[in-house]
Symmetry: C2
Subunit: 79 residues, 2 copies
């Protein structure tokens, strides 16, 4: 079963990587870019076939490894 | 207008970062993880209010800066 996970910085947490992208876009001539936030996107292929259990496992993985929950949020999508 | 962009490695391109995550999950006791692919996720806040023009601008940004189209695919979602 495929699981898609987004890990994003919480609001208020400084995002130097996103800021660097915003600056680079400006230098390339793209105007009107007010903000850029950069996060991680993960696609997992799990043996688990039950959607509820796959989601529970993915959330557990986020808590343990994939996200730093002090500064990051995560979202899990199944399928 | 908010634009969400996913940048992912093309099929067949080696993903050492995803492989490292898969290995780390295994060491933490998560079994049944067959594969992990890691990509980037960007949220842009654009001045542009026309969805079609915002999407065109975002695609242009992907081609010029955000994605390496030799090895990466990108997807643009508006709103």
């Amino acid at each position: 079963m495929k699981v898609r996970i987004h890990v994003t910085l919480k609001d208020g947490v400084l995002d130097p990587q996103g800021e660097a992208v915003r600056h680079a876009l400006g230098q390339l001539g793209f105007s009107g870019v007010n903000g850029v936030r950069q996060g991680k996107f993960l696609e997992l292929d799990l043996d688990e076939t039950d959607p509820a259990r796959a989601e529970a496992a993915a959330r557990h993985m986020c808590e343990k490894l994939l996200a730093n929950t002090v500064i990051e949020n995560y979202e899990v999508e199944i399928g």
